[in-house]
Symmetry: C2
Subunit: 257 residues, 2 copies
């Protein structure tokens, strides 16, 4: 039998290369292929699909972690994907899969719009590479909090490596926290809105400033196909996300007239 | 007859409040309603739907421009929309329409993913407000280059004010440059990929750095419904963009099995 090369797995995130979540993700899939980590050199939460167009990007090689090459980049999650693909292409290599996370905090509902975790996965989809973003529903997870998801994450990564994903589509995976995980379900993004609340402050000179806060208002609470519903039932939610966002132009009223 | 209040028009962009494009846009629609400009205090190109979560946001009132209130914000385009809505809500006010641009440079094909101009329009759609992003296909337009689009922009703004837009949908409008504008067409985003080319440099100490460049490769060149096709024919392209990006989960193969 012919021997097959092992898959090349690129891992990034938006919490930065020292975050617990990305190191756990790399550990979980370490034996499933050759793993390269290329992640922001610090937190980039809320960076969406932002790219750096006007500043030099630099890569800092970090000490290997259990045989895994670690690269810190002074850019956004999408930059990390783009630049690493550029450098791998010079060696005629290309990742078989891109994983992003495990994010510290949920990316449910319309948070996918703002998420840097999903910005990296969407970038992977635009590059034609099957990509998955993972998020745990805790902003301050302890290391052990990631463990219950290990087998599920390995299962999802195995399926995507075997079956691929539809063109321009990546997966947004959210993982329950502090409840028993009872399975996985594909889901819809829960339609809703942030009720925006900026906290208001005055600095010592009396000048006002504002910091973002807010709560997600579920506009579809009866729908049992949403990510929020499945997570409330202890299920891991898997939402397929299309990088292209076109709405049917023929359904536009009053613009063509 | 009852007198109607004039519409409240919020204008932002990603090139910053001093850019020619935003000042032209405000001028073009100044008599169509009460105009408020709230825009980044400097360039934020490529910022997508990024939001600022960990830094204080501040608003600097600038001198009025022809009776229009000008506010510079030290955040992203999406921050400008969110924070301005927050402050208007405290006065029980809410924009009737949000306009973003006129961007200096195109936002065709998958550039909508990275565009800060469209990040602001998508934020408007998520807030339930009809929103339109405008982009001119020149990175260094002279003031006069915006003039040919004046009547078309007024027409689009008038239609959207009258008819609204479908829920969660905003418009991505691109405007030809250096050719006669012969009309407007609703269109699809041209499917394609950036052929990523990072320019590589060495700084004086010999350390490498990288700057983003690249060209868009049209993967659908025969399609006469795309933004790129219509623009090549001298038409203004109007692509409806849905803020939610869900792909049909029932069409996912090999993940549910």
């Amino acid at each position: 039998m012919e021997s097959h090369k092992q898959p090349l797995i690129l891992i990034t995130n938006d919490d930065g290369i020292t975050a617990e979540g990305i190191n756990k993700l790399a550990e979980f899939v370490a034996d499933m292929g050759e793993v390269i980590v290329a992640a922001p050199d610090g937190p980039r939460s809320g960076f969406s699909s932002a790219i750096t167009t006007d500043k030099p990007l630099r890569i800092r090689k970090m000490p290997d972690a259990g045989g895994i090459k670690m690269n810190a980049i002074n850019g956004t999650p999408a930059d990390c994907v783009k630049l690493t693909l550029h450098l791998l292409a010079k060696e005629n290599r290309r990742p078989d899969i891109i994983l992003s996370g495990i994010n510290h905090g949920s990316n449910t509902g319309n948070s996918v719009v703002y998420s840097g975790t999903m910005g990296a996965a969407i970038e992977g989809a635009l590059q034609g590479i099957p990509s998955v973003g993972f998020s745990l529903l805790s902003h301050k997870p302890a290391a052990g909090d990631f463990e219950p998801s290990r087998a599920y994450i390995r299962q999802i990564v195995g399926k995507v490596l075997n079956n691929g994903l539809p063109e321009w589509v990546c997966l947004n995976v959210n993982i329950p926290y502090e409840m028993e995980i009872t399975g996985m379900e594909t889901a819809e993004s829960c339609i809703g809105q942030w009720t925006e609340e900026y906290a208001e402050y005055a600095d010592p000179s009396g000048r006002k400033f504002y910091m973002l806060t807010g709560k997600y208002r579920n506009l579809d609470p009866e729908n049992k196909n949403t990510d929020l519903y499945h997570l409330s039932q202890g299920k891991i939610s898997i939402v397929p996300v299309c990088a292209f966002r076109d709405y049917d132009r023929r359904a536009l009223k009053g613009i063509n007239d």
